[in-house]
Amino acid sequence: MIDLKTLTIEKAHQALKSGEYSCRDLAQAYLDVIKEKNQDINAYIEIFDDALLQADKAQEKFTNGTATLLTGIPFAMKDNILIEGKKASNGSKYLEKYTAVYDSTVTKILKKEGAVFIGRTNMDDAAMGSSTQTSYYGPTKNPCDTERVPGGSSGGSAAAVAADMALVALGSETCGSIREPAAFCGLVGLKPTYGAVSRHGLIAMGNSLDQIAPITKNVRDAELIFETIAQYDPADSTSRPQEKRVIKKGNAKRIGIPWHLFEEGVDPFVLDNFKQSVEKLKSAGYDIVDIGLPFSKYSLAVYYIIMPAEVSTNLSRFDGIRYGYSDQNATNLLEVYKRSRGIGFGKEVRRRVLLGTYILSHGYYDAYYNKAIQVREKITQELTKAFETVDLIATPTAPTPAFKLGEKMNDPVAMYLMDIFSAPANLSGVPSIAVPSGTTATGLPLSIQFMAPHFAEATLFEIGKKFETI
C-alpha cells in the first residue's frame, strides 16, 4: 500500500528507482482512488485509458537507466492543455468533441521525461470563472469540504491533487486560476513569470496574461516541475529566450506588505491568519516592511477590461466552420456563426465576449481599453520600483476561504473579486506562489502568496520551502 498522502516527487522517484514499486503500481494506486472518489468530486472529465500503458513505457526508462525525476510521476492535466490524440474540451460544450491534433510544448517536454498523464481535469468553461462552477461538465467539489467549491478555473487539477487522484497537476492561470484553487484546496500553486513557460498548445484565453504551471502538495514538487517545463520555445513568440532571462537567485531578507490593500473586503479569518504568518516570518528573521502600492488597488478593474477585450478577440476563432460545435440547422454563414457561438459558448463566456466587444467598440475604446493599458503600465512600474527596496511582496492569496457551491453564481462582480490579490502579478508578469498557511476553525485551508521580481522564481521556492517549516 503506497502512502499517497505524504508522497512527493522525490520520494516516489526513490521508490521507483529502488524497485519498491513499479510505475504501473503507482499509477494504479491513483486510479484506485479515482474509482472511489471521482464520481463524487468530479475532478476529472476523462481518465485516459492508456494511463497504465504510459506507466509501463515509463518503467522501461528505469530499466534502461534513462529515468529522470519526473519519470513515472502521475500528472493530472487541465482540459485546456493539448495532448495529441486526446480530447481537449476546455471545460466547454463548444469543444466537447475536439481531439487535439498536436502536443502542446509542455506535453512534449513531460512525455520526454516519461511522466504519466492520468486524465484531463475539470475547469470553468473556457477557463472563465473562479470556482469551476461554470464548467459544461458540472461543478467540481472541494475535497476538503464537499459542500464547497475547489476554486477555479483550475479547480479540477487542484481537487485531483488534494484528493490523491494524482501526485501533481498542471493548470493554467490568466488571473488567479492556479493560485486561488491551490489556496482553497490547501495546496501550493505557482504563477510563473510571463514568458517562462511556453503556451504553445494551451487553448488561449488572454494572451498577454496566460501561463501554464504546476499545482502540488509542496513547494519542492512545484520547483521540480517548473524547472523542467520553463524552457524557451520558438513556437511561442512570447516565450523568453534563455539568454534574455535574467534569472535571479534566492536569499531574500526583506518582505514588503501592502497593508492598505486589505483594509476592506477581506474575511477576518483570512486577515488574522495572514497576520500570524507575518509574525512567523518576522520570528524567522525576515525584515517586514509596510509598502504602498496605490495603483495596484485598480488591478482587478484593469484586469476586467484587458481580459474580456482579449477574450472577445481570441474567441472569434470559434466560428463553427473548422472545428468545435457547429449548428448545422443554420441556412447561411452568418447564422452558422451566431447559432454555433450562441449554443456552444456557456453563459459566462457569452457575458465576457459581449463585455469585451463593448470595451473595444468605437467610443469606448479610449475610456476603457487604452486607459487600462496605461494603468497596467503604472502597476508594473510601481511593482518594479517596490522590488528595488524589498525582495518579496506578501499578501493573502484569496480574500476568503472556499465558499459554498452555488454561491456568487448570480453576482459576477462578487465572483470576480476572488482574484483581487492575484491580478497585480498577472498584469505585471512577475511570478507568484501560493503556499498553505493553516486552516480556519472549521478546517478550511488558508493561504499566503508571495510575489518576486521577473524570473526570480528561485526566491519564491526558497521562501516557500522556509515557510513550510515555520
Binding site: Y98, T99, V101, Y102, P234, A235, S237, T238, K244, Y298, L300, A301, V302, Y304, I305, S312, S316, D319, G320, I321, R322, Y323, G324, S326, Q328, A330, T331, N332, L333, L334, E335, V336, Y337, K338, R339, R341, G342, I343, F345, K347, R350, R351, V353, L354, L355, T357, Y358, S361, A367, Y368, K371, A372, I373, Q374, V375, E377, K378, Q381, P412, V413
Partner: protein, 92 residues
C-alpha cells in the same frame, strides 16, 4: 446602456442570445461597468509606455512542414468538407 446596445453587441459578437439573457446581461453590465469604471479616477497623464528590449520573435522561415501532412487530421474536426477544403454554408 440600453437593450438596443445589447442587441448591437450580440450582433457584432456573432452570438445568438435569448431576450431574457440580454435583459440579464444588461442588469449585470451596470455593476460590472461601475466596478471597472474605477480606473477613470486614476490620473490621466499621458504615459510613455516603456518598451523592453526589442528583438525578433519570429523563427526563420525554413524546413516547412510537408504539405498535406496534417490535412486529414485537421479536416476531420470540421463539420463539412469537400475535396480537402472546409465547406461553408451560403454566404449571401
Amino acid at each position: 446602456m440600453t437593450i438596443d446596445d445589447v442587441n448591437k453587441l450580440a450582433t457584432l459578437a456573432r452570438i445568438d442570445m435569448s431576450d431574457a439573457e440580454k435583459q440579464e446581461f444588461l442588469g449585470n453590465m451596470e455593476s460590472i461597468l461601475k466596478y471597472i469604471g474605477q480606473i477613470q479616477e486614476v490620473s490621466t497623464e499621458v504615459l510613455e509606455r516603456k518598451v523592453g528590449d526589442v528583438y525578433n520573435v519570429l523563427r526563420e522561415d525554413e524546413n516547412p512542414t510537408e504539405s498535406g501532412k496534417y490535412t486529414e487530421k485537421i479536416l476531420a474536426e470540421a463539420p463539412e468538407t469537400q475535396d480537402g477544403y472546409f465547406k461553408v454554408k451560403q454566404i449571401l
